[in-house]
Symmetry: C2
Subunit: 171 residues, 2 copies
Protein backbone atom coordinates (compact mmCIF):
# COMPACT_ATOMS: atom_id res chain seq x y z
CA UNK A 1 0.00 0.00 0.00
CA UNK A 2 2.81 2.39 0.90
CA UNK A 3 4.44 1.80 -2.53
CA UNK A 4 1.16 2.43 -4.32
CA UNK A 5 0.65 5.72 -2.51
CA UNK A 6 4.27 6.79 -3.11
CA UNK A 7 3.98 6.12 -6.82
CA UNK A 8 0.43 7.26 -7.53
CA UNK A 9 -1.01 9.52 -4.89
CA UNK A 10 1.28 11.25 -2.44
CA UNK A 11 -1.45 13.62 -1.25
CA UNK A 12 -3.66 10.70 -0.26
CA UNK A 13 -0.64 9.20 1.44
CA UNK A 14 -0.09 12.36 3.49
CA UNK A 15 -3.76 12.48 4.45
CA UNK A 16 -3.79 8.81 5.48
CA UNK A 17 -0.64 9.36 7.57
CA UNK A 18 -2.22 12.27 9.44
CA UNK A 19 -5.45 10.33 10.07
CA UNK A 20 -3.41 7.43 11.36
CA UNK A 21 -1.32 9.65 13.61
CA UNK A 22 -4.46 11.24 15.06
CA UNK A 23 -5.99 7.82 15.62
CA UNK A 24 -2.88 6.61 17.39
CA UNK A 25 -3.26 9.50 19.82
CA UNK A 26 -7.03 9.42 20.16
CA UNK A 27 -7.95 5.74 20.37
CA UNK A 28 -7.53 4.18 23.75
CA UNK A 29 -8.97 1.18 25.55
CA UNK A 30 -12.38 1.01 27.19
CA UNK A 31 -12.10 1.36 30.96
CA UNK A 32 -14.53 -1.46 31.48
CA UNK A 33 -14.04 -4.05 28.73
CA UNK A 34 -10.62 -2.99 27.32
CA UNK A 35 -11.70 -2.92 23.69
CA UNK A 36 -10.47 -0.10 21.46
CA UNK A 37 -12.51 3.07 21.70
CA UNK A 38 -12.19 6.85 21.44
CA UNK A 39 -14.25 7.45 24.58
CA UNK A 40 -13.51 6.36 28.15
CA UNK A 41 -16.22 3.70 27.78
CA UNK A 42 -16.96 1.89 24.49
CA UNK A 43 -20.37 1.93 22.81
CA UNK A 44 -21.18 -1.59 24.01
CA UNK A 45 -20.39 -0.79 27.65
CA UNK A 46 -22.38 2.45 27.36
CA UNK A 47 -25.43 0.71 25.90
CA UNK A 48 -28.02 0.16 28.66
CA UNK A 49 -29.67 -2.60 26.61
CA UNK A 50 -26.60 -4.80 26.87
CA UNK A 51 -26.78 -7.29 29.73
CA UNK A 52 -23.48 -6.95 31.60
CA UNK A 53 -24.43 -10.01 33.65
CA UNK A 54 -23.14 -12.05 30.70
CA UNK A 55 -19.47 -11.38 30.06
CA UNK A 56 -17.72 -12.81 27.01
CA UNK A 57 -13.93 -13.01 27.24
CA UNK A 58 -12.12 -12.61 23.91
CA UNK A 59 -8.52 -12.14 22.82
CA UNK A 60 -8.87 -8.95 20.82
CA UNK A 61 -11.16 -6.22 19.46
CA UNK A 62 -11.47 -8.10 16.15
CA UNK A 63 -13.09 -10.98 18.05
CA UNK A 64 -15.66 -8.57 19.45
CA UNK A 65 -16.44 -7.50 15.89
CA UNK A 66 -16.69 -11.13 14.72
CA UNK A 67 -19.06 -12.12 17.54
CA UNK A 68 -21.18 -9.00 17.12
CA UNK A 69 -21.54 -9.77 13.42
CA UNK A 70 -22.17 -13.52 13.67
CA UNK A 71 -24.29 -13.87 16.80
CA UNK A 72 -27.20 -12.33 18.67
CA UNK A 73 -25.09 -11.94 21.81
CA UNK A 74 -26.30 -8.99 23.84
CA UNK A 75 -24.06 -9.13 26.88
CA UNK A 76 -20.76 -7.43 27.60
CA UNK A 77 -17.12 -8.28 26.86
CA UNK A 78 -13.73 -8.44 28.41
CA UNK A 79 -10.96 -8.00 25.84
CA UNK A 80 -7.67 -9.57 26.90
CA UNK A 81 -5.44 -8.04 24.26
CA UNK A 82 -3.60 -11.32 23.79
CA UNK A 83 -3.07 -14.74 25.32
CA UNK A 84 -0.98 -15.86 28.26
CA UNK A 85 2.49 -16.61 26.93
CA UNK A 86 5.11 -16.74 29.71
CA UNK A 87 7.97 -17.17 27.21
CA UNK A 88 7.03 -13.90 25.54
CA UNK A 89 6.63 -12.17 28.89
CA UNK A 90 2.83 -12.04 28.66
CA UNK A 91 1.39 -12.90 32.04
CA UNK A 92 -1.86 -12.14 33.86
CA UNK A 93 -0.79 -8.53 34.44
CA UNK A 94 -0.18 -7.82 30.75
CA UNK A 95 -3.73 -9.06 30.01
CA UNK A 96 -5.02 -6.94 32.91
CA UNK A 97 -6.71 -9.94 34.43
CA UNK A 98 -6.87 -8.06 37.72
CA UNK A 99 -9.64 -5.94 36.19
CA UNK A 100 -11.56 -9.06 35.22
CA UNK A 101 -11.08 -10.46 38.73
CA UNK A 102 -12.58 -7.26 40.15
CA UNK A 103 -15.51 -7.48 37.80
CA UNK A 104 -16.15 -11.09 38.84
CA UNK A 105 -15.76 -10.25 42.52
CA UNK A 106 -18.27 -7.42 42.18
CA UNK A 107 -21.12 -9.93 41.87
CA UNK A 108 -23.59 -9.35 39.06
CA UNK A 109 -21.88 -11.65 36.55
CA UNK A 110 -24.14 -14.65 36.00
CA UNK A 111 -22.09 -16.33 33.26
CA UNK A 112 -18.55 -15.87 32.02
CA UNK A 113 -18.26 -17.06 28.42
CA UNK A 114 -14.78 -18.00 27.22
CA UNK A 115 -14.57 -17.27 23.48
CA UNK A 116 -10.83 -17.82 23.23
CA UNK A 117 -9.19 -19.63 20.30
CA UNK A 118 -8.58 -23.33 21.03
CA UNK A 119 -4.84 -23.00 20.44
CA UNK A 120 -2.30 -24.16 23.03
CA UNK A 121 -1.80 -20.69 24.50
CA UNK A 122 -5.52 -19.96 24.19
CA UNK A 123 -6.39 -23.10 26.15
CA UNK A 124 -3.92 -22.20 28.90
CA UNK A 125 -5.48 -18.74 29.05
CA UNK A 126 -8.99 -20.20 29.22
CA UNK A 127 -7.92 -22.54 31.98
CA UNK A 128 -6.41 -19.71 34.02
CA UNK A 129 -9.52 -17.56 33.70
CA UNK A 130 -11.85 -20.47 34.46
CA UNK A 131 -10.02 -21.02 37.75
CA UNK A 132 -10.30 -17.34 38.55
CA UNK A 133 -14.05 -17.46 37.92
CA UNK A 134 -14.42 -20.64 39.98
CA UNK A 135 -12.82 -18.84 42.94
CA UNK A 136 -15.35 -16.04 42.50
CA UNK A 137 -18.11 -18.66 42.16
CA UNK A 138 -19.13 -17.42 38.72
CA UNK A 139 -20.39 -20.10 36.27
CA UNK A 140 -18.13 -20.46 33.23
CA UNK A 141 -18.89 -21.73 29.73
CA UNK A 142 -16.73 -21.99 26.64
CA UNK A 143 -17.69 -21.86 22.99
CA UNK A 144 -17.95 -25.24 21.26
CA UNK A 145 -14.82 -26.70 19.68
CA UNK A 146 -15.14 -29.27 16.91
CA UNK A 147 -15.71 -29.77 13.24
CA UNK A 148 -16.47 -26.41 11.54
CA UNK A 149 -19.83 -26.05 9.81
CA UNK A 150 -19.67 -27.15 6.19
CA UNK A 151 -16.48 -29.04 6.98
CA UNK A 152 -15.99 -32.45 5.41
CA UNK A 153 -14.94 -34.87 8.10
CA UNK A 154 -12.14 -36.37 6.05
CA UNK A 155 -10.39 -32.99 5.66
CA UNK A 156 -10.54 -32.09 9.33
CA UNK A 157 -7.23 -32.40 11.20
CA UNK A 158 -6.82 -35.38 13.51
CA UNK A 159 -6.68 -33.32 16.70
CA UNK A 160 -9.98 -31.61 15.96
CA UNK A 161 -11.59 -34.91 14.96
CA UNK A 162 -10.41 -36.61 18.17
CA UNK A 163 -11.68 -33.66 20.20
CA UNK A 164 -15.01 -33.60 18.36
CA UNK A 165 -15.38 -37.32 18.86
CA UNK A 166 -14.63 -37.37 22.59
CA UNK A 167 -16.73 -34.23 23.05
CA UNK A 168 -19.78 -35.69 21.35
CA UNK A 169 -23.17 -34.52 22.54
CA UNK A 170 -26.58 -36.12 22.95
CA UNK A 171 -28.89 -35.34 20.02
CA UNK B 1 -0.68 -39.85 -13.80
CA UNK B 2 -1.93 -41.57 -16.91
CA UNK B 3 0.20 -39.23 -19.07
CA UNK B 4 3.27 -39.90 -16.96
CA UNK B 5 2.85 -43.65 -17.33
CA UNK B 6 2.19 -43.41 -21.07
CA UNK B 7 5.35 -41.38 -21.62
CA UNK B 8 7.73 -43.01 -19.17
CA UNK B 9 6.70 -46.45 -18.05
CA UNK B 10 4.12 -48.36 -20.03
CA UNK B 11 4.89 -51.63 -18.25
CA UNK B 12 4.12 -50.05 -14.89
CA UNK B 13 0.96 -48.66 -16.45
CA UNK B 14 -0.13 -52.12 -17.59
CA UNK B 15 0.58 -53.56 -14.16
CA UNK B 16 -1.35 -50.80 -12.40
CA UNK B 17 -4.27 -51.31 -14.77
CA UNK B 18 -4.43 -55.04 -14.02
CA UNK B 19 -4.21 -54.44 -10.26
CA UNK B 20 -6.98 -51.88 -10.52
CA UNK B 21 -9.16 -54.19 -12.59
CA UNK B 22 -8.67 -57.01 -10.08
CA UNK B 23 -9.53 -54.65 -7.21
CA UNK B 24 -12.65 -53.48 -8.95
CA UNK B 25 -13.80 -57.10 -9.13
CA UNK B 26 -12.58 -58.19 -5.73
CA UNK B 27 -13.42 -55.35 -3.36
CA UNK B 28 -16.97 -55.25 -2.17
CA UNK B 29 -18.80 -53.83 0.80
CA UNK B 30 -18.89 -55.33 4.27
CA UNK B 31 -22.17 -57.14 4.90
CA UNK B 32 -22.45 -55.59 8.32
CA UNK B 33 -21.01 -52.06 8.22
CA UNK B 34 -20.87 -51.43 4.43
CA UNK B 35 -17.27 -50.27 4.35
CA UNK B 36 -15.00 -51.43 1.51
CA UNK B 37 -13.48 -54.86 2.07
CA UNK B 38 -12.30 -57.93 0.16
CA UNK B 39 -14.03 -60.35 2.55
CA UNK B 40 -17.75 -60.67 3.32
CA UNK B 41 -17.08 -58.96 6.66
CA UNK B 42 -14.45 -56.25 7.17
CA UNK B 43 -11.60 -56.55 9.66
CA UNK B 44 -13.32 -54.24 12.15
CA UNK B 45 -16.57 -56.21 12.12
CA UNK B 46 -14.57 -59.46 12.42
CA UNK B 47 -12.57 -58.20 15.41
CA UNK B 48 -14.10 -59.60 18.63
CA UNK B 49 -12.42 -56.82 20.66
CA UNK B 50 -14.52 -54.16 18.95
CA UNK B 51 -17.65 -53.26 20.91
CA UNK B 52 -20.51 -53.42 18.41
CA UNK B 53 -22.79 -51.88 21.05
CA UNK B 54 -21.34 -48.52 19.97
CA UNK B 55 -22.06 -47.78 16.34
CA UNK B 56 -20.53 -44.80 14.58
CA UNK B 57 -22.33 -43.64 11.42
CA UNK B 58 -20.05 -42.10 8.78
CA UNK B 59 -20.42 -41.02 5.17
CA UNK B 60 -17.63 -43.05 3.62
CA UNK B 61 -14.76 -45.49 4.11
CA UNK B 62 -12.28 -42.57 4.26
CA UNK B 63 -14.09 -41.34 7.39
CA UNK B 64 -13.60 -44.73 9.01
CA UNK B 65 -9.87 -44.41 8.28
CA UNK B 66 -9.79 -40.85 9.68
CA UNK B 67 -11.57 -41.84 12.90
CA UNK B 68 -9.45 -44.97 13.35
CA UNK B 69 -6.32 -42.85 12.98
CA UNK B 70 -7.35 -39.89 15.13
CA UNK B 71 -9.31 -41.47 17.97
CA UNK B 72 -9.31 -44.41 20.37
CA UNK B 73 -12.78 -45.46 19.23
CA UNK B 74 -13.19 -49.21 19.61
CA UNK B 75 -16.80 -49.70 18.54
CA UNK B 76 -18.29 -50.55 15.16
CA UNK B 77 -19.36 -48.49 12.16
CA UNK B 78 -22.13 -48.03 9.67
CA UNK B 79 -20.88 -46.57 6.39
CA UNK B 80 -23.58 -44.72 4.47
CA UNK B 81 -21.74 -44.29 1.20
CA UNK B 82 -23.04 -40.73 0.82
CA UNK B 83 -25.56 -38.26 2.17
CA UNK B 84 -29.28 -37.93 1.63
CA UNK B 85 -29.73 -35.74 -1.43
CA UNK B 86 -33.21 -36.03 -2.92
CA UNK B 87 -32.34 -33.81 -5.90
CA UNK B 88 -29.56 -36.22 -6.87
CA UNK B 89 -31.81 -39.22 -6.35
CA UNK B 90 -30.05 -40.31 -3.17
CA UNK B 91 -32.66 -41.40 -0.65
CA UNK B 92 -32.72 -43.72 2.35
CA UNK B 93 -32.62 -46.78 0.09
CA UNK B 94 -29.46 -45.70 -1.73
CA UNK B 95 -27.75 -45.34 1.66
CA UNK B 96 -29.13 -48.73 2.69
CA UNK B 97 -30.62 -47.25 5.82
CA UNK B 98 -32.89 -50.30 6.07
CA UNK B 99 -29.82 -52.27 7.19
CA UNK B 100 -29.09 -49.70 9.88
CA UNK B 101 -32.73 -49.81 10.98
CA UNK B 102 -32.46 -53.60 11.34
CA UNK B 103 -29.28 -53.28 13.37
CA UNK B 104 -30.97 -50.76 15.68
CA UNK B 105 -34.08 -52.91 15.99
CA UNK B 106 -31.96 -55.91 16.92
CA UNK B 107 -31.25 -54.42 20.35
CA UNK B 108 -27.65 -54.45 21.51
CA UNK B 109 -26.82 -50.95 20.28
CA UNK B 110 -26.28 -48.76 23.36
CA UNK B 111 -25.19 -45.59 21.52
CA UNK B 112 -25.42 -44.47 17.93
CA UNK B 113 -22.75 -41.85 17.19
CA UNK B 114 -23.39 -39.55 14.23
CA UNK B 115 -20.02 -38.58 12.74
CA UNK B 116 -21.46 -36.93 9.65
CA UNK B 117 -20.11 -33.68 8.18
CA UNK B 118 -22.04 -30.63 9.38
CA UNK B 119 -22.94 -29.60 5.85
CA UNK B 120 -26.55 -28.96 4.82
CA UNK B 121 -27.04 -32.43 3.35
CA UNK B 122 -25.07 -33.98 6.18
CA UNK B 123 -27.29 -32.33 8.77
CA UNK B 124 -30.42 -33.54 6.99
CA UNK B 125 -28.96 -37.04 6.95
CA UNK B 126 -28.09 -36.85 10.65
CA UNK B 127 -31.59 -35.67 11.44
CA UNK B 128 -33.18 -38.53 9.49
CA UNK B 129 -31.03 -41.15 11.22
CA UNK B 130 -31.56 -39.60 14.67
CA UNK B 131 -35.32 -39.96 14.20
CA UNK B 132 -34.86 -43.58 13.12
CA UNK B 133 -32.82 -44.27 16.26
CA UNK B 134 -35.37 -42.50 18.46
CA UNK B 135 -38.07 -44.80 17.12
CA UNK B 136 -35.88 -47.77 18.04
CA UNK B 137 -35.21 -46.13 21.43
CA UNK B 138 -31.45 -46.08 20.88
CA UNK B 139 -29.57 -43.10 22.42
CA UNK B 140 -27.96 -40.89 19.78
CA UNK B 141 -24.96 -38.56 20.04
CA UNK B 142 -23.23 -36.43 17.43
CA UNK B 143 -19.63 -35.28 17.22
CA UNK B 144 -18.99 -31.73 18.40
CA UNK B 145 -19.30 -28.91 15.87
CA UNK B 146 -17.50 -25.66 16.49
CA UNK B 147 -14.22 -23.84 16.21
CA UNK B 148 -11.50 -26.26 15.01
CA UNK B 149 -8.52 -26.80 17.30
CA UNK B 150 -5.75 -24.30 16.64
CA UNK B 151 -8.27 -22.09 14.88
CA UNK B 152 -8.07 -18.35 15.46
CA UNK B 153 -11.52 -17.07 16.27
CA UNK B 154 -11.31 -14.13 13.91
CA UNK B 155 -10.71 -16.39 10.89
CA UNK B 156 -13.59 -18.75 11.64
CA UNK B 157 -16.64 -18.32 9.39
CA UNK B 158 -19.66 -16.59 10.89
CA UNK B 159 -21.92 -19.66 10.77
CA UNK B 160 -19.46 -21.76 12.73
CA UNK B 161 -18.87 -18.96 15.22
CA UNK B 162 -22.60 -18.48 15.79
CA UNK B 163 -23.03 -22.24 16.20
CA UNK B 164 -20.06 -22.49 18.58
CA UNK B 165 -21.40 -19.58 20.57
CA UNK B 166 -24.94 -20.86 20.96
CA UNK B 167 -23.62 -24.36 21.60
CA UNK B 168 -21.30 -23.28 24.39
CA UNK B 169 -20.63 -25.74 27.17
CA UNK B 170 -20.07 -25.49 30.92
CA UNK B 171 -16.38 -25.59 31.80
ZN1 LIG C 1 -16.29 -1.46 26.81
ZN1 LIG D 1 -17.70 -54.13 8.58
Amino acid sequence: MAFYLLERDRDAGRHLASVMAASMDRIGRCESCRTLTEAPLCSICMNPKRDQGLVCVVEGPSDVAAIEQATEFSGGYFVLGGRLSPLDGIGPEELELGRLRQRLAGGGVRELILAISPTIEGSATSHYIAEMAALAQVPVTRIAHGVPLGGELEYVDGGTLAHAFSGRLPV
